[in-house]
Amino acid sequence: MSSPPVPSIGLRRLAGRMLAAAAALTIGLAASSAQAQETFRVGIVTFLSGPAAESFGVPARHGAEFLIEQLNRGAAPAPYNQVGFGGMRIEPIIVDENGGATKQVQELRNLYQRENVDAVVGYISSGDCLAVAPVAEELKKFLILFDCGTPRIFEDASYRYVFRTSAHATQDNVALARYMRARNINAGTFSMINQDYAWGQDSRSDFVAAMQQLYPQATANADLLPKFGAGQYGTEISALARANSNVIYSSLWGGDLQAFILQGAPRGVFQRSQLVLSAADHVLQPLGERMPNGTIIGARGAYGLMSADTPLNRWFFDGYSQARGGVYPVQAAYRVTQALLGLKAAVEKAMAANGGKKPTPEQLADALRGLEWDSPGGLIQMKLGNGHQAIQTMAIGRTRWDAARRQVVIEDIQRFAAECVNPPANMRSQDWIKAGFPGAKCDTPGN
Amino acid sequence: MAGDTRPVLSARGLAKSFGAVVAAAEVTIEVPAGEKLCLIGSNGAGKTTFVNMVTGYLTPDAGTIELDGETITGLAPRTIARKGICRSFQIPQLCIELTAEENMLVAIAAAEPRGLSFWADPAAGGRDARARELLDRFGIAAMADRPVSEMPGGMRKLLDIAMALARRPRLLLLDEPTSGVSAEEKFPAMDRVMEAVSGQASTIVFVEHDMDIVRGYADRVIAFYSGRVISDGTPDHVLSDAEVKRYVSGGAA
């Protein structure tokens, strides 16, 4: 280095700019709180770029935009027919989730402190959820996690301001194993292929644990962990073909899952082995007839083609499909919808209690804790994590290409009651599976 | 010719080849203290290979090199420099983005046992005075604060030699100190070098092509041809050797 740190001009200029930014901000802050009564600002964080955009991020965005537009017009069916949130117009601020957890922490702070949002609904990646939850808690701001899978969030910590309005990933794999058991699928041997990061690793260990309970004699063959975004699965498919197991299990998703199926189907592995996928309804429309018939799939809830036929669901399914040119809603769109409906229910419940004022984060948290509400995907119950973690009905089914309708249909659907595939409160998921699902209530058909 | 009993540099039986090219074969040279030895030979005759082996850039395939009786064969250039052999280069090896004084300070800092301080100013502790003094000796003190990239070629050449002197070496090797200098300026330039060097280093080996310079400054001359020493002795003796005339002084300049 050949020179002093900063001559005074540079410094003064910088300081001036910072002060100007601060001043502009203070004014902005005052201005926005003046209008606060008429609008409710919701930050929506979802993948708009990167590998998760196509499968989850953008469908979630479409779901949120559809729902908010309907709610702002007061066009949703009862009990959600009040305009916006309790009469307040909903103003979404959409942010890209791509870019890593460090960026998400910063953007979440910006949403609350710079954009003055009243609540944030977001996060598909488990890593992002884990990172942002303590930030909202620290800032005492309201946060709903709408999609991420890891059970660790409320099992490792407890929060006042943070909620997750959809079930965590445990139910995906427990339901899958229960479905196989109920259908008496031959699973004496099974192989697995999962991405080598938390989602894949966690799904794999949940599935293995559930299999040990329901298929104690089964042996695991190939146990493959390709890296996230690998794209090329030729080698893995050879390994699966060599293993020649009764069942091939996978928690792959998105482009990775599509590539795996495209490359595996011609090599016959899915004819020799029963393919079971923990989260795959989002690839049915893109893959179409390329999806192997008879694949057992989950949707991370009773979503899309496996959703129950209720008036609310029919309204959502048809309305969304129409808005999206015939593309029906799947997992992510359902999950953001149930989050926003939960938020609406909480806002309106809090307003009923506080005399119609815009609720504070504390009032919102008190209202949402332990709440139950109807969603297109069924009843959402905030039963775990001291009323901060939802459980919901789960569904598993088998795919079949319907040539006449030119789409994949799902048959032989079995719905599982929320309490059949989720641990009871105050029990960790892995412990619950390993203890043989104590307290599971499976007799009531969850419809 | 100074006739000390023990030579400063003693190279015995050096051999080096690159594939099929023999760059040095059976080269044995002793340099007594205080001697000014000149190496001559056409390009590729083995002069620079010898300099490179002595300074550690090349490791000889065979033979030994001793400095004051201590074996230095195959040591790294920095180790050999620390032991007291410093060199200048045919093409000046400088840091062209640094000023002349900074280049000198680098050389001085490298020469001092505790020269590489994490905090202290490189110019502190009288180092700047020493740098100025050396620059002054070569008449380039006026350019001290200019980046080397703005200095003319002749001055760079002098700075290159000045840097080699920072350590007050036991043995100084100058690779073509007057190359690139026009014929009529060669003598003044060489005068200046020899004057500047005096008192800083007394034992000098230099490579030279100009036979007038050789005659004027060397105590002793060694002629190389094809990797071998073909003649060794006083300038008059070597330069009148028939083989030398054929292969060196008469042929390539």
Partner: protein, 298 residues
């Protein structure tokens, strides 16, 4: 034995996919001394354009083997448009700057192209899986392989031989080699270095796009496919030696076999098998397997 054959075959298939892309990367580095991070984006663009072209051809009734022609045309088209555009109007502005600066320029380009692709094709996946079935299935070592995989090996071999032949056996190829060897000397000998740069860069882009185009039938073409390919290709050419064609081939085979061995024998090590090989090669042979020394001379 059967396992060894499977590893060999899987490794070679993966290697041939890698080789086509890495060959372009190493060629661009050899001639322009640029490690092009945006190479992966051009791979992605190749895949997208191929998907669009194959669909277009199919709509004209040109299915079947015409799809292969569509894919080839896609790669040529991407190269002819993007190569001169990027080299002439962007990279040329930065020649003479530090290698690292050029690396960062291509990183900026990578960011820009990622979003540009999204703006053009949206986020929905594109499929062109029909060509994948063109060559049927082949039984090998008691396993089924898709014939297309073997066609890929053929493509890689053809690309490698063609580039090697063009460089070593043609006049203009020798000019390119001269530029690789010494830019200054070639310029002083009257070589039009600018032209060589543009041709080499375009050829590099063509190979990236070709890799993408012929991978398109095996994957769902969607955002994010450019990232993983670029890192692995980097590893390949670092192992083989930057700028070396033979090196890219050997590097691709080593990476392919290392990965295949990991998947079959120690699946939990797949994630870093490639980086371990790369680190090992760099430690014991920093210049790569086919490169002149560049470690400190002393």
């Amino acid at each position: 034995m059967q396992l060894a054959l499977t590893i060999l075959m899987d490794g070679l298939i993966y290697a041939s996919w890698l080789f086509v892309v890495a060959l372009g990367l190493t060629l661009v580095f050899g001639v322009l001394k640029i490690l092009n991070i945006a190479h992966g984006s051009l791979y992605a663009i190749g895949a997208y354009v191929a998907a669009s072209m194959v669909t277009l051809f199919a709509s004209w009734g040109l299915g079947g083997h015409f799809a292969l022609i569509a894919m080839l045309l896609a790669a040529i088209g991407v190269a002819l448009v993007m190569g001169p555009l990027m080299e002439r109007y962007l990279l040329r502005l930065f020649y003479g700057r530090d290698e690292v600066v050029l690396l960062l320029v291509t990183y900026a380009l990578f960011l820009i192209l990622e979003d540009a692709v999204k703006l053009i094709w949206g986020v929905n996946p594109y499929y062109v899986s029909e060509p994948y079935q063109l060559f049927g299935n082949v039984a090998f070592a008691s396993l089924f392989y898709v014939g297309y995989d073997f066609a890929l090996i053929g493509l890689a071999v053809v690309c490698g031989i063609a580039v090697w032949f063009a460089l070593n056996r043609t006049r203009s190829g020798k000019v390119v080699l001269a530029v690789i060897f010494s830019r200054e000397m070639s310029a002083s000998m009257g070589v039009n270095v600018d032209k060589v740069h543009m041709i080499a860069f375009t050829l590099g882009i063509f190979l990236a796009a070709l890799g993408g185009a012929f991978t398109a039938p095996m994957i769902s073409v969607q955002p994010g496919i450019s990232v993983s390919v670029i890192i692995v290709s980097f590893a390949v050419i670092i192992i083989g030696g930057l700028g070396s064609i033979e090196g890219a081939a050997i590097g691709a085979v080593i990476v392919g076999l290392a990965r295949a061995a990991a998947v079959h024998l120690m699946p939990e090590a797949e994630l870093f098998s490639i980086y371990l090989v790369m680190a090992a090669v760099l430690i014991f042979r920093p210049e790569g397997l086919f490169q002149r020394a560049a470690a400190r001379k002393i």
